[in-house]
Subunit: 120 residues, 10 copies
């Protein structure tokens, strides 16, 4: 499944755009994808923190977008950066951070943190 | 119900105004409003942190003001910014921050943080 | 997918059969299935506690068996009892208990506990 | 509002009726009602634990039933017993327990536990 | 100050008397009295657990009754038993337990547990 | 009772004055005063953090000083600032901070933070 | 130092003797003795739970009694049983339990539990 | 390496044998062995709870005995039962329980509990 | 065993090299080595945090590399710095930090933190 | 006992001196001394954090050095600063911090933090 087949992230207008910068944190503890090597399921907690500009992400579309990873094979490092890219493309936030905190495998736990800041 | 119908936030004089800047944190774990789309109740914890100037907020009026949201339909992003606006209008603090930490819906948890700093 | 299509639970001989009754607890925090009504994913923690008779469950086959629920639509109450039935059929333990602890939906959390005791 | 005006608790058939006794725990942390004396909102966590006979409670109807207390004035002791009565009438379980754990008022916290066992 | 000068514990009728035995737990973390030897303040958490018969204790009167200990000198062992006696005299419960959990003094922490069961 | 009637905060010489700046944190979880409106007791945790100059506060005198508030009616905002004033007057520290963390009233919790820095 | 040289455990009359059996728990987290083999200090938490008969232990004497172990060499198993013997001899309780929970040595933690029940 | 090559568990006389039954809990969080299939290291926490008869286990010999598993390949179920057998043979306790709590592998955690009671 | 005999740390290309700096945290709670003085096993948790440049570390090779310390005698301070050196040589990250958090010995716990920043 | 009679803090060469600055944290939860006024034992947790220059502290000598305070009368503020002085004299670190976190006395808890930075 390519990126084009992922459900679209929908947005709604930020009522406070131009009035006040503020921050939104969204925590998604039910993320699961597949290991591209073994096909085994991976589990993780994704936490988005962003400052909206003109648009806020719509939560239901975010849920459906994340569920599409249930059947996709992708590495921890890639999935965190890739989801941040899609998020930034959809919302065009002033800044955004994504932390992917993945379940232990072979006694080792991995967390990946990627950040985006809009150029002015 | 429009904003005019909300109970007024009352204040009392800050005895240390002009003498010392200090900080007051108020935590309200019993906030509930309605989802404007579905009419279903939402639940959250609101935490105010502010530096008073001439006025402190009176806690009982804050409690009654927040209870009025029990029957109002309003989004997470809007309610946090809107309550901060009312708070600032009533107290005219030197600075104020409001964090709204909302219960999980569809496996996803959201927190909104808005901040105000008085111009000098 | 019917029950016949589920991966088989494999077993190995209990070296202490006939010598000593003892208890094994197996905790599986990465269980996920689908809601049969909405097709939305459900998440839960399954905890098996059993006293083996002649056979112990092989952990890798248990992992693969549970992963097969990733694409199956089934209710909380049904899935807990059904997995216990399969577990008992494969291991024929002296006693077995299964607790399914499922993630909150609509602000409500559910846990189901089913138990089996062999007739003597 | 009288008891007749409460939304009905719906049920579905217990697939394991007659085959196995098992236990279901349902935790509802978003319960809120009104104090009958002062009209002020009360908050609590309700936890049901029951052994179904022929019927299981349907969770969405339980959510809507509990939301109806949002505008009802009722005491802690009464509400816990009354909800248990409605639950038992709807599901006719083999046994059921309800714990109501209420938020502190005047520095004092109250929890009420009521239990039902079917006569045989 | 003698026992006669303590505020009365008030009660209200138990609506479920004769219908169902149930249990009420009341947790009072703001209890403070004086050490009869040194006059220094003591602090503790009192937890009542009782099964009402015809009467339930009214919480506001309980709060005022406990506040009266603020100026009374009394030992840990005595205060726990004495408050249980007053509680039993006022409510005549089927059974009642009181746990007094007191703050550390000289590096040592003390908890006292007293119980009452009505004769039948 | 006026401020003059409060027990004096005693001090002892700081052996490391002029040699090294260091920090002392003192946590007092047994603070209680009265609400000036209702006469009802309030409870809180006071935490002092200070860098001594020539003098350190003597802990037993601090304990007795704080116990004097047991019978005084005073607001949260006032009491925190007022105790910091007395502390600074007695010890003349290089810097001092006082946090008053008060118990919930009406479902709302309040914390007040005041700070002092000596002019050079 | 022999047992005779230990400070005496003092007692005071139990005001509720003959009226009600109740339980007292005393937690002493500052216990330290010496290892009889190496002379190195050992640390532990002692927790007494007892039902008094005619006598209660006086806490200050208990503190001084326990402090005497600061310079005594004694094994974990012995010290727990020996202190329980002294406690029982002094108070003659209806029942008493002592748990000694000792700090890790060589990566291994030890707890010893001894119990006494009076013959009737 | 066969069982004969394991370091001997040493014991010392129980000073309270014949006087009082008491319980000793020993917690060993640094247990590691090898998986007999893959040669990969396994990690676990072993907790012994026993009532000594004539003999107590000497802790240093227990530490050395457990360290010998560092290079041995053995299954979770087997190792727990086998260590309990060696422990019972060495100490001949009145009763003994061993819980082996092993680290997650493939997202699944296992705990094994074995118990021994002496025949009288 | 010299450093040459350690298993090689393998790497894979960082797909986001040159596009975005991001951070990877890897937590290894199953690290064990030997004390070079006594030969006794040491246990610790190693946590790597690094910003990759062209290469990411491959987790399975990291696991095998760390397992090789199971039979090596090395001090806490040395092992943390030495592993960081090997990690930096293999991945050539932009920055890397390693924290070694070791189990208590003689009642004392030690943590070592070493950091690397690439020259530009 | 004067400072001269304290056991010497021993050191070993820092293998990474001149190559890399790194940090060592040492946590000592078993510190006990005597109150100089009352002779009563005090208990605390000492935490050292330092950046070594040419020398690291040897842990066994640190343990013995700290044990010598078991029989010394000294104030909280003094003991923290004094131990830091001895530590700095022995190791000559680039920087060092010592936090002394002492057990509650009279319901009040004290922590003292002292810091040293080498002049360049």
């Amino acid at each position: 499944m390519s990126d084009e087949e992922l459900p679209a992230l929908e947005t709604f207008p930020n009522q406070y755009a131009g009035k006040r910068d503020y921050s939104i944190e969204i925590r998604c503890p039910e993320f699961t994808s597949l290991c591209p090597k073994t096909g085994q399921p991976d589990f993780g907690v994704l936490t988005f923190t962003y400052t909206p500009d003109e648009l806020c992400v719509e939560l239901k579309s975010l849920k459906l977008y994340l569920q599409a990873y249930r059947t996709r094979g992708i590495f921890y490092e890639h999935v965190t950066n890739s989801i941040l890219d899609h998020f930034v493309a959809a919302c065009q936030p002033k800044r955004a951070k994504l932390v992917g905190d993945f379940s232990p495998r072979g006694g080792i736990t991995t967390a990946v943190t990627a950040e985006y800041v809009a150029e002015r």
